[in-house]
Amino acid sequence: MTITAPPVPERPALPEDQPIALHTKERGADLVFRRVLATSSAVVLFLLAATTLFLIVKGWPAIRAAGLHFFTDTVWSPDTHHFGVAPLLIGSVVVALVAVAVAVPISLSTALMINEYAPARLRPWLTSVVDILATIPSIVYGFWGLEIFSNLQIGPARWVAHYFGFVPFLRAPLNSGDYGKSIVATGLVCALTIIPIITSVSREVMAQAPRDACEAALGLGGTRWGMVTDVILPFSRYGVVGGILLGIGRGLGETMIVVLVLSTTNILTPAVLGPNGLGSIAKQITENFSDGSTIEKSALIMAALGLFATTLAVNAIAKLIVSRTGARI
C-alpha cells in the first residue's frame, strides 16, 4: 500500500513535502510481538491437533484388528475382536436426535415468546434466565433426570407403549418396570441442555429481523402470527437451522446425562422406549475404559473418535449455514 502526496506545483518542493514511505513490512518490536503471537498460536494448534492425532494412533490397533467390521459388528466382545460399535454409535446419534426433535419446537416457541409475545419489561429478564440455564452443569441435569424425571415419565411411556406399541420404534415389554432409563428418557433430559442453546441462538437471530418490515406487516393489517411466518422466520431461517445443528452437536457430545440416565442392554434394535435398546459411546467409555484391556481401550478410543467425527461434521455444516447470516455464535 503506497500513498503519494498530491503534487504541489506552485512553490519549490521542501524536504517535508516529500512523500514518506509507509512500512507495511513489520520491523523491530512489531516483528517480535507478532512472532510471540504466532508462536502461541502454533502452540495452541499443536496441542489441539496433537490430541486428535494421539488418539488416532492409540486407537488404530482396534481398526487393524477388526477392519471394516469395526463399525458394523453388533456384539461387544473386545477380546475376540468383535467391537460392536454400531449399537453404541447409533445410540448416541439417536439420543441426540430425540433431544433435538423435542427441543426444536420448544426452543423456537420460547425464542418467539421472549421476542414477540412477552411483555417488553420481562424481555431482559427472560434472556438472562435462558443464559443462566445454559450455564448449569450437565451433571445437575443428569442427576435430576435420574432421581426425578425417569420416575415421572414411566407412566406416560407405558401409556404410549400400550396404545402405540404397533409402531416398531415404540414397542416395549409392558410388564417390565424399567421404562425409566430408556433412550427416549435420556434424550428428553438431554433436550433440557439443548433448549437454552437453540433458544439463545435463534432468539438473537430473530431479534435482528428488520423492525420496519415487522411493523409494516402489522400495519397492513396482518396478524402477529402472519408477521412471524412472513417476516421473522424467513429472515432468520439460516440462523435457526445453524442453532439447531449446534444443538445436535451438543447432544452428541453429551456425556454425564447419558451415563447417569441411560440403562440399556446395548443391542441393535429400533425400539427406543424400553430397557432393551441401543447403547452409548460415552457410557461405554466411562464404565469400561480404565479397567479395559489394551485392545478394548483402542476400540473405545476409535468409537469416541467416530463420535467426534460426527460432531465435527454437524458443527461444520452449522458454521457454514450460520455464516451466511453473519450472526456470531
Binding site: A29, A42, V44, I139, G253
Partner: protein, 396 residues
C-alpha cells in the same frame, strides 16, 4: 355479528383483540366506519372468556368420555384434553373471527405452551436442587462448606459430611487450568483477529473444531498421555487441570476472538495513523477496549469448565479427604463428587449429592453474576452489551 359461512359483512365495531378477519369490501376512497385505524388492543375480556371457556368445555367433554369408558390414565387424560381443547378453540375462533384470527390465536396458544414446556422442566431442575440441596448444604451453615466427605455413609447425618475437599479441588484445578489456558488463549485470539493467512485460518478452524469436541475425548486423552504412564501416582489435581485445559483452551480462544473482533476498526486505525507501532496499538488500545468483554467471556468459560465432569473422570481420582497439593496425590472435585455419590447411591448419600449439587450451582451462578458485573461495571457498559450491539449494528 354474523355467524354464517357466507361472505361476511364487516363488523360495525372494530374487531376486538387482534387485527384479522377478511379485508373490508369497500372501494377506494369510501371512508366508512371500517376504515378507522384498527388498534391492537391488549387482552379484552372476550378473548379470555373464549380461551377459558374452550378449555373448560374440552375438559368436561374429555372427563365425561373417560368416566363413561372407565379409563383413568392421567397422562392420557391430559393429552386428550389438550387435543380436544385445541379443536374446540379452533372451531370457536373460526366461527367468531375468521380463519386468519383462528390461526393467530392457535399460534399464540402453541407458542405460550411451548415456552411453558421449556421453562417448567428447566425451572423444576433448579427448584429440586434448591428444595433438596439447600437444607443439606445450609443445615449447620458453614459446616457443609468446610467439612470433608470422609465419614459419608448411608446412615450418617448431615453434620458428618461436607463438600470442603471438593471445593478446594475444584478451585485449585480450575485455577491451574485458568493459568495455563487464558494467557495462551488471549495471545492466540489476538493473533487470529489480526491475521489473514493460511496459518491463521488453520488455527481458527482447529480451535472451532475442538470447541465442539465431546468432553469424553479430553478425558481419554489425558488418561493415556499423563495418567496411565505414571501408574499409581498418575491421578492428581494437576492431571485434572490438564484435562480441563484441553476443554477450556478452545473455549477461551474462541470467545476472546469474538470479543476482540468487535473492537471498532476506527479505534485501531486512529492509533495506527497517529504513528503507534502495532504492538502498542494492541496492548494499549485493542485489549483495553475489549477488557470488559474479555473478562465476561473468560469468566463464563470458567463457569462452564467448573461444571464439567467427564474430563476429570479418569484424572482427579476423587478423594474424600482434604488434599491441598494439586501436584501430588488424588484430589476431589465438585462435579466428580456428585457423580461418585450418585454411583454409591443409597439413603443419605443421595441426599449429600443434592447438597453438593447445590454448592456447585451456587458457584456457577456466582460466576455468572460476576461475569455480568464484569461486563457492566466498566465505563461505557461494554462486554456483552457491546458484543450484541455491534454485532447487530454491523448487519443493519
Amino acid at each position: 355479528m354474523s355467524y354464517g359461512t357466507e361472505v361476511r359483512t364487516p363488523p360495525t365495531t372494530p374487531t376486538p383483540s387482534i387485527a384479522g378477519g377478511p379485508p373490508p369490501a369497500s372501494g377506494f376512497g369510501a371512508a366508512s366506519l371500517e376504515d378507522r385505524p384498527n388498534r391492537r388492543q391488549r387482552v379484552v375480556p372476550a378473548t379470555v372468556w373464549e380461551l377459558v371457556g374452550s378449555a373448560l368445555a374440552a375438559l368436561a367433554f374429555v372427563w365425561l368420555i373417560f368416566s363413561l369408558t372407565g379409563t383413568s390414565a392421567v397422562f392420557g387424560l391430559l393429552v386428550s384434553w389438550l387435543l380436544t381443547f385445541v379443536t374446540v378453540y379452533a372451531v370457536l375462533c373460526w366461527r367468531l373471527h375468521g380463519v386468519l384470527a383462528m390461526k393467530d390465536r392457535l399460534a399464540t396458544v402453541a407458542i405460550w405452551s411451548g415456552a411453558l414446556m421449556a421453562l417448567i422442566p428447566l425451572g423444576a431442575v433448579i427448584f429440586f436442587v434448591i428444595i433438596k440441596g439447600a437444607p443439606v448444604a445450609l443445615a449447620h451453615f458453614p459446616h457443609f462448606f468446610y467439612a470433608d466427605m470422609l465419614k459419608a455413609g448411608a446412615k450418617d447425618p448431615v453434620t458428618a459430611v461436607g463438600a470442603g475437599a471438593a471445593i478446594v479441588g475444584t478451585v485449585e484445578q480450575v485455577g491451574l487450568a485458568f493459568l495455563m489456558t487464558v494467557p495462551l488463549g488471549l495471545l492466540t485470539a489476538t493473533y487470529l483477529v489480526d491475521s489473514r493467512g493460511f496459518f491463521a485460518r488453520l488455527v481458527s478452524y482447529v480451535v472451532d473444531a475442538m470447541t465442539g469436541a465431546p468432553a469424553i475425548i479430553a478425558a481419554v486423552f489425558i488418561y493415556l498421555l499423563w495418567v496411565a504412564p505414571r501408574h499409581t501416582s498418575g491421578k492428581s489435581g494437576f492431571a485434572a487441570a490438564l484435562a480441563l485445559s484441553v476443554m477450556m483452551l478452545p473455549v477461551v480462544t474462541r470467545a476472546a476472538q469474538e470479543v476482540i473482533a468487535v473492537v471498532p476498526g476506527s479505534l485501531r486505525e486512529a492509533a495506527l495513523a497517529l504513528g503507534a507501532p502495532r504492538w502498542r496499538v494492541i496492548l494499549r488500545v485493542v485489549l483495553p477496549t475489549a477488557r470488559a468483554g474479555l473478562s465476561t467471556a473468560v469468566i463464563l468459560g470458567v463457569a462452564r469448565i467448573a461444571g464439567e465432569t467427564a474430563p476429570v473422570l479418569f484424572a482427579a481420582g476423587g478423594n474424600v479427604y482434604y488434599n491441598w497439593n494439586p501436584f501430588s496425590g488424588v484430589q476431589d472435585n465438585l462435579p466428580l463428587r456428585i457423580f461418585e455419590l450418585i454411583n454409591q447411591g443409597s439413603g443419605n448419600i443421595v441426599r449429600d449429592a443434592w447438597g453438593v449439587s447445590f454448592v456447585l450451582i451456587l458457584l456457577v451462578l456466582g460466576l455468572f453474576v460476576l461475569a455480568r458485573m464484569a461486563g457492566r461495571s466498566r465505563p461505557g457498559r461494554r462486554g456483552f452489551s457491546l458484543l450484541r450491539r455491534s454485532a447487530a449494528g454491523a448487519r443493519s
